[in-house]
């Protein structure tokens, strides 16, 4: 607990502990991971450096997530993805396993609401599905060299069948329609916050999957 405390002292750590869902040790751990992303900036500013979106996206837990940019946009004050340490800490705290379900539902809603109009409309849903599909598509379109590289590192099963990774326009719109039918309770054609909350609180898998641990 000694190394990373140069920036924050005990009382501030205690305050962080009160303000977030983390313990002091976890706060320091988050700070360490944050500092790893851009060591020079942290050395220079120390207390609350602002990192750009690209630097934050170097974090492997976020990099693998298709919604990474959207997450950063939602959690950053300025709305463009750059955030300082406090906002980063806040984000990690809300995404941790200790945050209550309602908080998670809030942020999930904000993340999936791309045009920020307070409703998840059809366009939003289409974008969600496209983002979900994206990792598979990038996997399928790797060149053979890149694929070999990936294989050397890991598991040798990047799908090279095109039909597995493509959803047609028709399919996407059918899926969108079905999701709206399932979730929309007030029959207005888009998913409002209430609908979303009601739906997600009944889904068991949601709480488990909507968390990022550093």
């Amino acid at each position: 607990m000694g190394q990373g405390t140069s920036a924050y002292d005990q009382s501030e750590l205690a305050e962080f502990q009160d303000l977030t869902y983390f313990t002091k040790r976890e706060v320091l751990h988050v700070h360490k991971r944050f500092a790893e992303l851009a060591p020079e900036k942290v050395k220079q500013h120390g207390r609350n450096p602002t990192l750009t979106k690209e630097e934050i996206l170097l974090l492997p837990e976020l990099a693998a997530n298709p919604f990474k940019e959207r997450i950063l946009e939602v959690f950053s004050d300025a709305g463009d993805g750059n955030m300082n340490f406090e906002q980063f800490l806040d984000m990690m705290s809300q995404l941790s396993s200790k945050a209550p379900l309602e908080t998670k539902i809030d942020f999930a809603f904000k993340i999936y609401d791309f045009n920020e109009d307070g409703q998840i409309c059809e366009n939003d849903l289409q974008k969600v599905i496209l983002f979900l599909v994206q990792p598979a598509v990038t996997g399928a379109t790797l060149t053979s060299d890149e694929r070999n590289q990936v294989i050397k590192n890991k598991s040798c099963r990047v799908s090279n069948k095109k039909e597995e990774t493509v959803l047609t326009e028709k399919e996407i719109s059918a899926i969108v329609r079905n999701v709206i039918n399932e979730m929309d309770m007030d029959d207005d054609g888009s998913i409002s916050y209430l609908d979303f909350k009601h739906g997600m609180s009944k889904l068991n898998g949601f709480e488990e999957s909507f968390k990022v641990t550093l």
Binding site: P66, D77, G139, S155, S201, E208, F210
Partner: protein, 787 residues
């Protein structure tokens, strides 16, 4: 003590809307120390847009609620466009800190005035100390320590949450076995060891088992030290030979009771036989209770899910954020696409897609394949039952009585006297004789799932999920059947010594085993060991070796498309269930087995973790996911039932061995219990006698059925309530739409008339609308506990 917002993470909107008439406000300060009042009142939202978009980071933006009251959200304002302010705007960390500091100071000021006087300063310090320690306690309570937590997180990051289920099952199994271990060690092994030592001190004779040489034919014929050493090592795995005389098995334990001399009278402090019997029952009771507790927790969740089955939303909105690996996310994405496609296909196709002819053909095909499966399973079972049983009777008939006493053969090493352990073939024959049953059982466990999968492919199912489910069911039944047959085999083999009339008896001697409980114990122990070895072998060859060659040899990868092995969660979990079954079966006969079980589980965890992180690929289609924890629990319960039936039959039908174990000299296993009851006071005897009559039993059963019926009807009525409330919510929202629509029409009319009033509505109308909105939110915000 604390400001109310910080305590309750879930604050219903009703609470926050209580102060209808007044305005609940929060005082914030921004960087320039200007005090800004933020009003919760919906209609006083004049500049919300302008202020919200202030770009400078760190400055306080106008938000309406504090952090943890995430359930309250911006109220509907009839003036503002529909959709704005419907999502909660939580404060950022910087703002929270500022507001906290302000509130704290104010709070302190309120309570203690100026902190100049010594006493109030002291008391304020005390209070803050207490506050802080309470908070610490809360924090510590929240961080419940999870066994192997970090390892599971790492695996989760690489393979996804579904694979995690397997490891969570392992953790849970560990808990059960540790509890059993503590029970066994504390109540059986400890006192048993003490008593044996105590008796050996006082040189009282307790019936010891026969001399070592008589027990094991191998020792008689072995030549040279190395043979004995090899034998000893082998016997570690078979549970015979030197192992039989250890505390591992039933036969070692004494029968006497622990007595103390109190005031000259001998008083029995610890009835050992009774303890052994009750601990045996406790193993099952404890496991059952733990599983039921777990199951009830999970069942609630999964029942709620059953009500509202949303196949599409559950796939689209539950991307696994735990995945930290690009490749795993690619695979996950592919599986998302596949499940979405499958859902779409399911919707499109009805049952009438296939023509009648093909349906009939498929029906016959499936009947055929099911028969094949059944035949295969029964065939294997018959094979090893026949071989092992006939062999044992044969060799028993031939064996000589080398110690001039009762026949000593306890294990399947009988007949080895006749074999000279000289050449390789005889070694192999001896090896096979000893291990045949266990090898066949373990081998079938590994090979049959593969066989079932192939058959599943043959059966041409429309959907992958049904195919996987069918394979699962078959594998489960196969494992259950295998263990049941093995137990039955043991039951029959021990039968003759157990005093039941069978036609297995030969003319010569009715006692085949000196200590048949030991026989059962050592057979089960052997099965456990062999199973573990087979497990390790599979890990080594099917996973490690395969991944090794796949990463090195490009030909296999590119041309043939061979990949690393998929982590098939369902088969793995069934394997765990099988292991737990044989543990449970063995606990009664081998009191040290819980320790072995715990050690084995720990070793399995680390081996599997290593394999999962390097040699294995996450599965393509996810069938066993988080919702299926309840199913897994159910499977464990069924297996517990099977084992329980076996143990029950053994206890009630067999006579305890006369020469070994804690039940020596008793006619039945339940004798110690009845003895204690009979010697108890008249009152207790009266109560117990009456409690066990049939009438009481019938009454109890009826009571239980009534309770079940009550809960079932309660659940049904709640379902009805849910439907009604949903309908109500829809109506309210429709009404609200109507109002909004009308007001907007009016507003546009009034604007065109250039009639601007500050605050469009009169105060009464505002109140009315607010009340309507409150009702609406009240219904919509019904928590699960209300339903």
């Amino acid at each position: 003590m604390d400001p109310p917002e910080e305590d309750s993470p879930t604050k219903s909107l009703l609470m926050s809307e209580d102060k209808e008439n007044g305005s609940t406000s929060i005082k914030l300060e921004d960087d320039d120390d200007n005090e800004i009042y933020v009003n919760k009142d919906a209609t006083d939202f004049p500049d919300n847009d302008a202020v919200d978009r202030e770009p400078s980071p760190g400055s306080s933006l106008m938000k309406t609620e504090s952090r943890k009251s995430s359930e309250s959200y911006g109220t509907f304002s009839p003036d503002v466009n529909k959709g704005e302010n419907t999502v909660p705007r939580n404060l950022t960390l910087a703002e929270r800190r500022k507001s906290r500091r302000k509130q704290r100071e104010q709070f302190k000021l309120m309570r203690f005035g100026s902190s100049s006087s010594g006493i109030s300063h002291f008391t304020s310090k005390c209070v803050t100390f207490v506050e802080r320690s309470l908070k610490q306690a809360k924090v510590i309570k929240q961080n419940h320590f999870r066994i192997w937590g970090t390892s599971i997180k790492k695996i989760e990051g690489q393979l996804g949450s579904s694979v995690c289920t397997y490891f969570k099952v392992l953790v849970w199994m560990l808990k059960i076995n540790v509890v059993c271990m503590i029970l066994g060690l504390g109540l059986i092994v400890g006192p048993g060891g003490y008593m044996t030592w105590h008796h050996s001190q006082t040189k009282e004779t307790i019936f010891n088992k026969d001399d070592l040489t008589c027990n094991n034919p191998n020792f008689v014929n072995g030549t040279g030290f190395h043979v004995e050493a090899v034998n000893s090592v082998l016997q570690l795995f078979t549970g015979t030979g030197w192992m039989e005389n250890t505390a591992m098995f039933y036969g070692w334990y004494p029968t006497s009771n622990l007595t103390t001399n109190m005031q000259g009278k001998e008083k029995t402090v610890y009835y050992f036989s009774l303890a052994y019997f009750s601990v045996g029952c406790c193993y099952f009771a404890v496991s059952l209770l733990l599983m039921l507790a777990n199951l009830s927790k999970l069942f609630k969740k999964s029942a709620a899910e059953q009500l509202e089955y949303k196949p599409y939303s559950s796939v689209v909105f539950t991307w696994d954020y735990n995945i930290a690996d690009t490749e795993a996310s690619q695979l996950r994405s592919v599986s998302v696409i596949q499940s979405l496609k499958e859902e779409l296909d399911e919707d499109e196709q009805g049952d009438t897609k296939r023509s009648l002819l093909t349906q009939v053909g498929i029906f016959f095909l499936r009947v055929l394949t099911n028969l094949i499966c059944l035949a295969a399973v029964i065939g294997t079972v018959y094979l090893y039952v026949k071989e092992v049983l006939t062999e044992s009777t044969e060799s028993r008939a031939n064996s000589t009585d080398s110690c001039g006493q009762l026949i000593n053969e306890k294990t399947l090493e009988i007949g080895l006297e006749a074999i000279q352990l000289e050449d390789l073939s005889s070694h192999l024959a001896a090896f096979w004789k000893t291990y045949s049953a266990s090898i066949i059982v373990s081998g079938s466990n590994v090979l049959f799932p593969v066989f079932f999968e192939l058959i599943g492919l043959l059966e041409m199912y429309q959907f992958q999920s049904t195919r996987i489910r069918v394979t699962l069911v078959r594998t489960f039944i196969m494992k259950l059947f295998t263990v049941a047959t093995f137990l039955y085999l043991l039951y029959r083999a021990a039968g003759p010594s157990g005093g039941i009339t069978e036609d297995w008896q030969t003319e010569k001697n009715t006692l085949f085993y000196n200590c048949w409980e030991d026989y059962i114990g050592s057979q089960l122990y052997q099965l456990i060991m062999i199973d573990f070895l087979v497990f390790c072998a599979v890990l080594l060859f099917c996973e490690a070796f395969r991944s090794f060659i796949v990463t090195r040899v490009a030909f296999l990868r590119d041309k043939i498309g061979l990949t690393k092995r998929e982590f098939n969660i369902s088969t793995e979990v069934l394997d765990l269930m099988y292991k737990q079954m044989i543990f449970w079966a063995g606990f009664y006969f081998a009191p040290l087995l819980p320790i072995v079980a715990v050690i084995e589980i720990i070793v399995i965890f680390y081996l599997k973790k290593l394999s999962a992180l390097t040699n294995v690929v996450p599965p393509k289609t996810v069938v066993l996911n988080h919702q299926s924890s309840a199913t897994i629990n159910g499977l464990f319960l069924i297996s517990l039932l099977v084992v329980f039936v076996f143990i029950g039959l053994v206890i009630f039908n067999f006579q305890p061995s006369q020469f070994c174990g804690p039940f020596r000299g008793y006619k039945r296993f339940t004798d110690p219990l009845s003895n204690v009851i009979n010697h108890a006071t008249v009152l207790k005897k009266f109560i117990i006698d009456n409690l066990t009559t049939t009438a009481v039993l019938v009454i109890l059963i009826i009571l239980v059925l009534l309770v079940i019926y009550y809960y079932k009807s309660l659940a049904a009525s709640r379902n009805v309530t849910i439907e009604l409330l949903k309908e109500q919510v829809r109506n309210e929202i429709a009404e609200k739409e109507e109002i909004l629509h009308r007001t907007q029409k009016n507003r546009s009319k009034s604007l065109s008339n250039e009639k601007e009033t500050d605050g469009f509505y009169s105060k009464e109308k505002r109140k009315q609308l607010k009340r309507k909105n409150t009702e609406l939110h009240g219904f919509a915000n019904l928590r699960k506990s209300d339903l």
